[in-house]
């Protein structure tokens, strides 16, 4: 997945300014930067979730398999099935755990019959490291889980439709340290199977989970590279200032 000179506007306001980036499929990529710098905005352009914001407008190209996802005729539904998303606040559907996972496969017709569906649900929950915790209560409501479990449920839900890319927007910011650790573990495990992009405001987290890091500031991507380089040896002064806590 790659972006070429992407700018995003909210009405007249430019929130993202000509960002170009190549997102590798085999790594975890972290977006960091001070609040309001446009990390979430950019993330949402990657699966066109910003279509839901009436004032948002995108310029430039974002390519998946070499074709622009903003071309006319692009099927957004299919795009989103290929580029999944996990949000800051866990948002399970107020349905059973089973239904939460099964929803995506059902609407995309990925399973024929109940058995296949059961298998998908189990596999997804296993991958999300939630199976052991919930296997006896698949019919309980997804909202009855703890925050960390809910977030893993959301990840499992995203996995269930077998996407190519998973976008995560500060997936741990609503969680306590223990739940956060679990999610970080999970990301490490999923790494390699899916391309993962994670937005985080914690540099420590970025350092822990990602192989590549992009640093955003005031709508621009200031620097992008290996995580280890960015944290130990940034090229840009602004990056340096940010990671040493001069601002933000």
């Amino acid at each position: 997945m790659s972006a070429k000179a992407v700018s995003v506007f909210y009405g007249d306001k430019k929130a993202i300014d000509e960002v170009s980036i190549d997102i590798p499929t085999q790594y975890v990529t972290a977006f960091i930067g001070p609040s309001g710098c446009g990390k979430s905005t950019f993330l949402r352009t990657l699966n066109r979730m910003n279509d839901t914001i009436p004032s948002a407008r995108v310029e430039g190209e974002i390519e998946l398999d070499g074709r622009d996802i903003y071309r006319s005729g692009m099927d957004v539904v299919q795009l989103r099935a290929r580029v999944g998303m996990v949000f800051q606040k866990p948002n399970p559907f107020p349905k059973s755990i089973y239904e939460n996972i099964a929803y995506g496969p059902k609407i995309h017709g990925l399973a024929e019959g109940k058995d296949e569906l059961d298998a998908i649900v189990e596999k997804s929950l296993r991958r999300a490291g939630l199976w052991e915790e919930v296997k006896d209560r698949l019919q309980d409501s997804g909202t009855a889980l703890s925050g960390g479990q809910q977030q893993r449920l959301c990840i499992a839900r995203a996995i269930a439709v077998d996407p190519e890319v998973i976008l995560m927007d500060e997936p741990c910011s609503a969680l306590d340290p223990i739940a956060t650790a679990k999610i970080e573990e999970l990301i490490a495990e999923l790494n390699g199977r899916y391309a993962i992009v994670i937005v985080t405001h914690s540099m420590q987290q970025a350092a822990r989970v990602s192989q590549r890091t992009a640093f955003f500031h005031l709508g621009k991507m200031v620097e992008y590279g290996r995580t280890s380089d960015i944290f130990t040896n940034p090229h840009e002064q602004r990056t340096q200032d940010y990671i040493t806590g001069r601002y933000g």
Partner: protein, 416 residues
Amino acid sequence: MTERLDPTRQAAFEARLKKRYAAERRFKAFGLGAILFSVAVLLFLLGTMTLNGIGGFQRVELEVPIDFTQAGIAADPATMDQPGAIQTLEAQGLRDVVQYFAQENLGEEAASQLGGQAWRDVADEIIGNPSVLQTQASFWLPASASLASGYQGEGSPEMRALAAQLSERGQIAKRFDAGFLTRSDATNPQQVGIWGALKGSILTMLITLALAFPIGVLAALYLEEYAPKNRWTDVIELSINNLAAVPSIIFGLLGLAVFLTLFPNLRSAPIIGGMTLALMTMPVIVIAGRNAIKAVPPSIRDGALAVGASPVQVVFHHVLPLALPGILTGTIIGMARALGETAPLLMIGMRAFVATPPDGFTSPATVLPMQIFLWSDEIDRGFVERTSAAIIVLLLFLLVMNGLAIYLRNKFEKTW
């Protein structure tokens, strides 16, 4: 610390504080008074209606024993389920038979106070069970309206005296009138019933529900979920908000000028009433629906969109089911309002006198609140109790509906 005054610890402050607390108490008392007043009015209203109305479920009846073995009415039981049965009985002089036995047993004066249609009750009984023609049977038949009011201590002195005389002999009594719930409108308060109006109300409400609910919900979905923000949407929104506040009688004028012009034959029919009320109820449902839809957190939509659901799927799989309790609450409240509505129906002929319950959406009918209105206009004192009884029935329906709405709302009140 420099020259502090500490004004808040002076005696004047404390004195003033006392007054402020007194004002506080007065204000609070006034507030409580306002609430208690409203509740008291509600209780008083319900109380008077109940007190007045309990009697409306009863009627004053006279006991008439009839010895059919002497009456010489020979009706063939087989013909008794045919349409003309009642005419047959009339032709055989059932009317006079009843009158005769009434005179025999009650005396001339009392017999003349047997309601003019009393023999029909006997006829109905015979039709239901022809074998009584071989027996002696005793019937409780409705007294005339004036004797009834005499029995209740009103009306003319002669009637009061007569009633007293009869009640001494145990031949007159105020008895529960089950027929009140199964008969229809009549001119004589002793003969009236509310089934016709109730059935009319039910038919009308069915039409209203069938039109207003789907249209209201779909419009709410459109406006809340899909409508682009443009002039057109503003116009739609404005007209819905406005319709919700247009006086109901205006809808009656609309029904009169539009529906009755298009379908002149359907004057007084539940289908027209239902259509008129549906237009009135629809905006209520739209507004309630929009609020319920708005209350569904956007994160649910995001979640569904992010796994690749289309906007239509998001709405029908997630938003609508979650908003449904709220929509239903709004619908029930709107329907309750429509059920109690009278003014627009006045305009479209639903105030006609209809002596039989409607047998379909297109046959003439009246509705419960209209029946109340019509009875309240009657001269006869006997209608006062009947009106209140009809009000009790209407209020029971409304209480159930409102209770259901409140229950639904409390049960599904969600904070996501």
